[in-house]
């Protein structure tokens, strides 16, 4: 009961705000008679969502699979790389700029090459998602690892901790809030990353569906798919938020007693 009440307090305002905005949109599109093909009213979108829903299943599965796999891959490799970067000054100076470079390559431009190298299946999509999600987590984690209190590090090193232990007992816990920040940013990008990857060649997935709807001027379907994408992303974001609260109880506590 308390939990429920708690989450209502948490999400109530957002739901209200979104409901309000939707209502406004509905009213405006009725009043100015905006054509459907340009910007359909929320109610129209709802209707066509209802129509499309039974068809969407396999597309959702395809996209979510790519997004989740890519996200997990990104997370693991990002934290490992961040650890390496933090551990070896040389790695930081050598790899970090490369990493930055990697982010500046438009996925879309690389996609044909990825397809040539890895085929048209799940793999290139997973890689695109991983590429997109990887970076925010690395940057945030490196930042967090660096911010660990020098004196605490000295203390624990002085206690005879190995570098490995130092990492797991001090650096990583100190970096947890930053890692969570990075994971949140990445979570938002994962689904849309999968969608973009699908635009470069796919036989199933929300990206493909979106493209088809858009090419046949079914703007209401386009928006319905966008809504699905948004919901999926928010669900993932919410999971990360939840995980964050669970793994870092000391920060949550701090927050609760604040003001």
């Amino acid at each position: 009961m308390r939990k429920l009440h708690h989450s209502l307090r948490d999400f109530g305002p957002a739901i209200l705000l979104i409901a309000g905005l939707l209502a406004l949109w509905e009213v405006v599109s009725r009043v100015v008679e905006m054509p459907d093909w340009l910007l359909p009213a929320p109610s129209d979108i709802g209707v066509s969502f209802g129509e499309a829903a039974p068809l969407l299943g396999p597309h959702v599965v395809a996209t979510v699979t790519a997004a989740a796999a890519g996200y997990a891959l990104a997370l693991v490799s990002a934290v490992l790389l961040a650890a390496a970067i933090d551990r070896w000054g040389l790695a930081r100076r050598a790899i970090y700029p490369l990493l930055v470079t990697s982010q500046t390559v438009p996925t879309f431009a690389l996609a044909p090459l990825l397809a040539i190298w890895f085929g048209f299946g799940l793999l290139p999509k997973v890689l695109v998602v991983a590429l997109v999600c990887f970076f925010p987590v690395v940057v945030a984690t490196v930042g967090g690892l660096r911010a660990a209190d020098k004196e605490m590090l000295d203390l624990v090193r002085g206690m005879g901790a190995s570098d490995r232990q130092l990492f797991f007992k001090v650096r990583l816990p100190a970096a947890v809030p930053s890692v969570i920040s990075g994971m949140k940013i990445a979570a938002t990008y994962s689904v849309i990353g999968a969608v973009i990857a699908e635009w470069t060649g796919a036989s199933q997935g929300l990206g493909l569906y979106l493209l088809r709807a858009s090419n046949s001027f079914q703007t209401d379907q386009v928006f319905a798919v966008i809504a699905v994408i948004a919901l999926l992303s928010i669900a993932l974001f919410g999971c990360v938020e939840l995980v964050g609260r669970t793994v870092a109880p000391w920060t949550a506590a701090k927050e609760e007693t604040a003001r």
Binding site: M152, G160, A161
Partner: protein
């Protein structure tokens, strides 16, 4: 309990020779230590007092291997300890409890690093003695200043090293808790034959606990006086009014006073 005789006595537990330490940071150059010489024999209890900012904590950091001296030699058990950590148990002046660990988890950090398994039980048993009963699962920000310090002391003891470096461990404790902790410290020192290098700003505490007391000059700090405390062991509270105690106190106070008026 003065330095033991025999062959092992030739190798002091801690030895500093001609140690200098200089900080250079953001354009500020601070000579913290200047030609420091100090030895602590095995199983000896040695205290260091000196004006605030004279370099006491710096010296402990050097022995603990956290910082490196700009000159001189530092040995622990006869082997160079420059830059080598893990040889001694060091309790820094700021308690530095890890905010993401509960009191118990902070206390057992040492055994945990060594991979011991019965650690929690052992630590739990001791929480009472440290006045931390009921706070095993509290995070550090939920503890009072003195409780944090006591948790830090427990953590240091559980490190289970022969040599302890204690940097004002009782600074935040009231007179009574402090007295209790002093007696407890002496008891484990005797029982387990530990070597202790103790920094304090309390002259009486230094005398009450130590075999020898060093007095440091102002920054850049160096040893200006080394005083042997000829009080019998075990020490009793009543000794604090005995003439040798009062004499020692006067000597140390005078030596310190000269620093302030310099």
């Amino acid at each position: 309990m003065s330095p033991p005789a025999g062959s092992a006595a030739a190798i002091p537990a801690v030895a500093l020779r001609g140690v200098r330490a200089t900080y250079v940071e953001r354009g500020l150059r601070v000579d913290a230590l200047h030609d420091v010489n100090l030895t602590v024999a095995r199983s000896e209890f040695v205290s260091v007092i000196g004006p605030s900012g004279c370099g006491k904590s710096t010296m402990l950091n050097l022995v603990a291997g956290i910082d490196r001296p700009s000159a001189g030699e530092i040995a622990v058990d006869g082997r160079s300890a420059i830059g080598r950590t893990g040889l001694v148990a060091h309790m820094p002046q700021r308690d530095l409890l890890l905010p993401w660990r509960t009191t118990l988890q902070n206390a057992v950090l040492g055994p945990e690093l060594r991979g011991e398994t019965d650690r929690e039980a052992r630590a739990l048993a001791q929480l009472d003695r440290f006045g931390l009963e009921g706070f095993a699962d509290a995070y550090p920000h939920m503890l009072s200043g003195g409780m944090r310090q006591r948790a830090a002391i427990l953590r240091t003891i559980l490190l289970d090293r022969d040599t302890l470096l204690l940097d004002e461990p009782f600074g935040a404790l009231d007179a009574l808790t402090r007295g209790e902790m002093q007696e407890w410290l002496l008891s484990i020192w005797t029982e387990l034959a530990k070597t202790v290098l103790f920094v304090t700003h309390d002259i009486e505490e230094a005398i009450f606990l130590s075999d020898r007391v060093y007095v440091m000059t102002r920054r850049p700090g160096t040893m200006k006086l080394e005083l042997r405390i000829d009080l019998p062991r075990p020490r009793e509270r009543e000794m604090t009014t005995a003439p040798p105690f009062v004499e020692a106190k006067r000597t140390l106070l005078r030596s310190l006073l000269a620093e302030t008026q310099r």
